[in-house]
């Protein structure tokens, strides 16, 4: 299956979870939020949420500046 992450297409195994996808790309760490098809997936659901083919993901990093 293919998913678009931060504007770039990537191929993943079918039934990949949000967590596995983020881990693959080096994003699975604290202080990161992931939105799938426009909605943030709560961190506790990363491991149980499957990414559908064609999904658009946005990975956001917490920034502290003000």
């Amino acid at each position: 299956m293919r998913a678009r992450v931060n504007g770039t297409d990537h191929d993943f195994a079918d039934d990949v979870t949000v967590r596995e996808l983020l881990d693959d790309l080096g994003y699975d760490r604290p202080g990161v939020a992931a939105a799938m098809n426009g909605t943030v997936v709560p961190r506790v659901r990363w491991a149980s949420t499957t990414v559908p083919d064609g999904a658009v993901l946005e990975v956001l990093t917490a920034v502290q500046g003000g």
Partner: protein, 390 residues
């Protein structure tokens, strides 16, 4: 979904106020009613820095009747590139004093409360109680989680904005929002990034005008909440990219499994706040628990040193780690016990103490030593969830 106005309208506007706010009054959605609500509103701005500058100026100009500002810092020359509420002659002055002078010049009809102190677990709740709405323009994760938790405990809505280089993020958090819309910052970011992973503006820089881009959105949201107009950013995160010149929003949902916030905690410990030396040492020398696991899986030759205390080592440990408490490294006493012939990886509970020890190791010549961001807790979370945590 629109929210009801946060603030009841003031009894009346004076002749001077009608003259001053006429461009608001002739917008049907604001009108006399909205302007009277702004007059009655009490808004606290946390931080008179990059975001606080435009926020205070525009909130004052808009006629928010009572403004509060809390900041403990003094104006530095390096602030002037973006903190437009301060000027050249303000360098060396407390930021709240400089901000108060600017606000008085912008709008003498409003009241500004000056709080020249650091927001802390001691003063946050009491201070928030005095205001209807809070704007968070602070510059570090520890204060951001403090603002969030104190706002949750006091049932206050707050407008949150943060900036880095060319990117900004804005949202509205309000745990007690009506109609089940409530959520807070921890629903988006349950935990901060490990220390050393995400640089601050002081370390990574920020485009000065980004403060205006994000600060103006924050003020817009504040005015909407106070007067009850439009679609607030509650439940949405707006991400602004100045290089792409795009604003995108993503929906945020309440995370049903987030632990309820019942009290204020030690935010420095929670965010792994460490000394500047430790922060410098950790920058570029931090690995994740998963990267540590990969080193093990590859069979890399390295020494894993656990710098916690013996009683913590008893509770939980990463396999193949050797215990050398941090103080023995800082004192220099344990340096001779460290291997000279292989790379050293340090870890502690969550990454704070190992960053301190890392600074000492770098100074002692162990230049390629790294530490594990997130420590054994991160290892338990990301690599081996069967381990106990404490």
């Amino acid at each position: 979904m629109t929210l009801p106005p946060l603030v009841e309208p003031a009894a009346e506007l004076t002749k001077d106020e009608v003259a001053r706010y006429s461009r608001h009054l002739i917008i049907p959605d604001v009108g006399m009613d909205g302007q009277k609500r702004l007059k009655n509103a009490k808004v606290l701005v946390v931080g008179a820095g990059g975001l606080g500058s435009p926020a205070l100026l525009y909130l004052a100009a808009a006629g928010v009747g009572t403004l509060g500002v809390i900041d403990f810092d003094v104006v530095d020359e390096s602030n002037l590139q973006r903190q437009v509420i301060h000027g050249q002659s303000d360098v060396g002055k407390p930021k709240v004093v400089s901000a108060a002078e600017s606000v008085a010049e912008i709008n003498p009809l409003i009241t500004l409360n000056v709080h020249q102190e650091q927001l802390s677990t001691e003063n946050a709740r009491e201070l928030f109680r005095e205001y209807d709405l809070i704007l968070d323009g602070t510059d570090n994760f520890a204060t951001r989680y403090l603002v969030n938790d104190a706002a949750v405990l006091e049932g206050k809505p707050y407008v949150w904005g943060s900036i880095f280089r060319f990117e900004g993020q804005v949202s509205v958090f309000w745990e007690e929002a009506p109609n089940g819309q409530g959520l807070n910052y921890r629903d988006l970011y349950p935990e901060p990034p490990p220390p050393g992973m995400v640089p601050s503006c002081a370390e990574g820089g920020v485009l000065g005008v980004l403060c205006a881009s994000i600060g103006s959105v924050m003020v817009t949201e504040a005015i909407k909440l106070i007067t009850g107009i439009g679609e607030p950013l509650l439940g949405r995160l707006m991400v602004y990219d100045a290089l792409e010149m795009s604003y995108r929003t993503v929906k945020i949902r309440k995370d049903p499994e987030t632990k309820p916030i019942t009290e204020l905690i030690d935010y420095d410990a929670f965010c792994g706040v460490v000394s500047d030396a430790a922060q410098d040492a950790a920058a570029g020398h931090t690995i994740t628990p998963r990267e540590l696991k990969e080193k093990f899986d590859r069979g890399d030759d390295f020494a894993l040193i656990d710098v916690r205390e013996p009683h913590e080592f008893e509770i939980v440990r990463i396999p193949n780690s050797v215990l050398i408490p941090k103080d023995r490294i800082l004192s220099g006493e344990a340096l001779s016990e460290l291997p000279q012939d292989k790379p050293i990886v340090l870890h502690c509970k969550s990454g704070g103490r190992s960053a301190e020890a890392l600074a000492a190791l770098h100074k002692a010549g162990f230049r390629d030593a790294v530490h594990v961001g997130g420590g054994v807790l991160g290892w338990a979370r990301d690599v081996d969830p069967s381990l106990p945590t404490y």
